[in-house]
């Protein structure tokens, strides 16, 4: 972990730690909570062979779709890519390997990593085609599927507010996968509109304690304008 006083960095420096071939969790459900500035910096820096873990593939032209479109992503672990025809086409052309999980199980697999477990036992999906892909065990005369935790090398998360130590506050539905990924990845880079001095955030208002965060980057509101402009629904 980075020492508390050394976490506040420029976006270039923070993202430069990510090597080719890294597995990267990316926050966001659709546009809200997507760390657009960090993703765009990753696009600019040129890392390739990436495995991305995100609820969805964003929409064409924004967010992780830009990385997919640029051929920088080998593998996507996700829940639903129905709003991104480019991602579906890349999947169908077998240029992008896609692993899909039911949304709540994806969330829990990430949360399970964040809690430091091997995984959890669930009845979700029993009797469906996803069941056959999983190892099952009997406990108390019922069948349960083992869902292994999902860890990653990096997480890119978006917060509304932060402090220099990396305490984070999310806003509205921009929370979604961000607090889970912040706990699950080895190295966590957070972007926030405002990065305050430690002590300026109320204790109870902090959603992600700084212990999980490696780097904090301050961004302007403008860096998420792309998500707002393109958002179609």
């Amino acid at each position: 972990m980075t020492l508390l006083n050394n976490k506040f960095q420029a976006v270039e420096e923070a993202v430069a730690r990510i090597p080719d071939g890294a597995s990267i969790m990316v926050g966001g459900f659709g546009s809200p909570g997507t760390p657009f500035a960090l993703i765009d910096e990753l696009l600019a820096q040129g890392q390739r062979g990436l495995t991305l873990i995100k609820n969805d593939a964003n929409e064409p032209g924004i967010g992780i779709s830009r990385l997919i479109e640029a051929g920088r992503v080998n593998r996507l672990i996700t829940s639903h890519i129905g709003l991104n025809r480019l991602a579906i086409e890349a999947m169908n052309r077998e240029e992008l390997s896609v692993e899909m999980h039911p949304q709540g199980l994806l969330a829990e697999k990430i949360r399970s990593a964040g809690a430091g477990h091997y995984g959890f036992l669930t009845d979700i999906g029993l009797g469906t085609e996803i069941a056959g892909k999983r190892r099952e065990i009997e406990c108390e005369d019922r069948t349960w599927a083992i869902e292994p935790a999902l860890y990653a090398d990096f997480a890119l998360v978006h917060a509304e507010q932060a402090d220099r130590y990396g305490n984070l506050i999310y806003r509205g539905t921009a929370s979604n996968f961000n607090p889970l990924m912040a706990m699950a990845a080895e190295h966590v880079i957070a972007q926030a509109y405002r990065v305050a001095e430690p002590g300026s955030l109320a204790l109870e208002s902090i959603h992600t304690p700084c212990a999980f965060i490696s780097q904090v980057v301050q961004i302007t509101e403008a860096t998420s304008e792309q998500g707002r402009r393109h958002h179609a629904v």
Binding site: F29, G30, S31, P32, G33, N55, T78, S79, H80, I81, G82, L83, I88, V98, M100, P102, Q103, G104, L105, A107, E108, I110, R111, D123, I124, G125, G127, T128, E129, I130, E160, Y170, R171, G172, T173, A174, S175, N176, F177, N178, P179, L180, H207, S224, G227, R228, H231, A232, V233
Partner: protein, 217 residues
């Protein structure tokens, strides 16, 4: 005269008890939110992490951090809260959502539901549908009775990959309201002006119909 979809939505709104927690699937079910007044004291859950969402009123500026699971910019009702995806699905898996409305490709006599994948054609991922279908206390399907080619969607057995087995409580289509019972699909209401013979002809599943009890909608 209301469209088929409007008739389905009006009928569906009657399923919601004031004070309940409701989830609305993408598509037609989402539009049900327009039929749930603030006075009902209902909170609408959206699985991306909000409880208590409502459609924006005309002219209400979008809040770019506030969407529902379909991606529409939303507003909130008194008593609303926001939370992360783990909390959102904990709520679903613990059956804290009282009722959910979903679309369907196929539903069958056993209450099996298929609404997420057409092998070789359509497989964008299941999203939150599997957990909602499996765990919400009451699952009501809102769909057209037949597909655009006129083929029945209410089947003896689903042929597409299941969203969840034996999960549906009630089906509301443009032609009928049907309950999944241990004996099979029991017709509760039939569409105004539709005959029982026509309904059976438009349906693959066996239908249990007691004409003396049949409502109209």
């Amino acid at each position: 005269m209301p469209s088929d979809q409007e008739r389905i939505l009006v009928r569906a709104a009657g399923e919601v008890i004031p004070g309940q927690i409701v989830n609305l699937g993408i598509g037609l079910p989402t539009r049900l939110s327009h039929y749930l007044s603030e006075e009902m004291g209902v909170l609408v859950h959206s699985e991306n992490g909000v409880l208590g969402c409502r459609p924006r009123t005309t002219g209400e500026a979008p809040d770019f951090d506030m969407i529902d699971s379909g991606g529409a910019y939303i507003a909130t009702r008194p008593g609303a809260s926001v939370f992360d995806s783990a909390m959102s699905f904990a709520m679903i898996r613990r059956s804290r959502v009282d009722i959910t409305f979903m679309g369907a490709f196929e539903v069958d006599e056993l209450g099996n539901l298929a609404n997420w994948k057409i092998p070789g054609k359509f497989s964008p991922g299941i999203g939150g549908a599997m957990e909602l279908a499996q765990k919400v206390k009451k699952l009501v399907i809102l769909c057209s009775h037949n597909d655009k080619h006129g083929n029945p969607k209410i089947l003896s057995r689903c042929r597409l990959p299941l969203t969840a087995p034996a999960c549906v409580s009630r089906i509301i289509t443009d032609k009928a309201v049907m309950d999944v019972t241990p004996e099979g699909l029991a017709v509760v209401d039939i569409a105004e002006g539709l005959g029982v013979v026509e309904l059976r002809a438009a349906t693959e599943a066996e239908l249990i119909i007691d004409e003396s009890q049949l409502g109209r909608f």
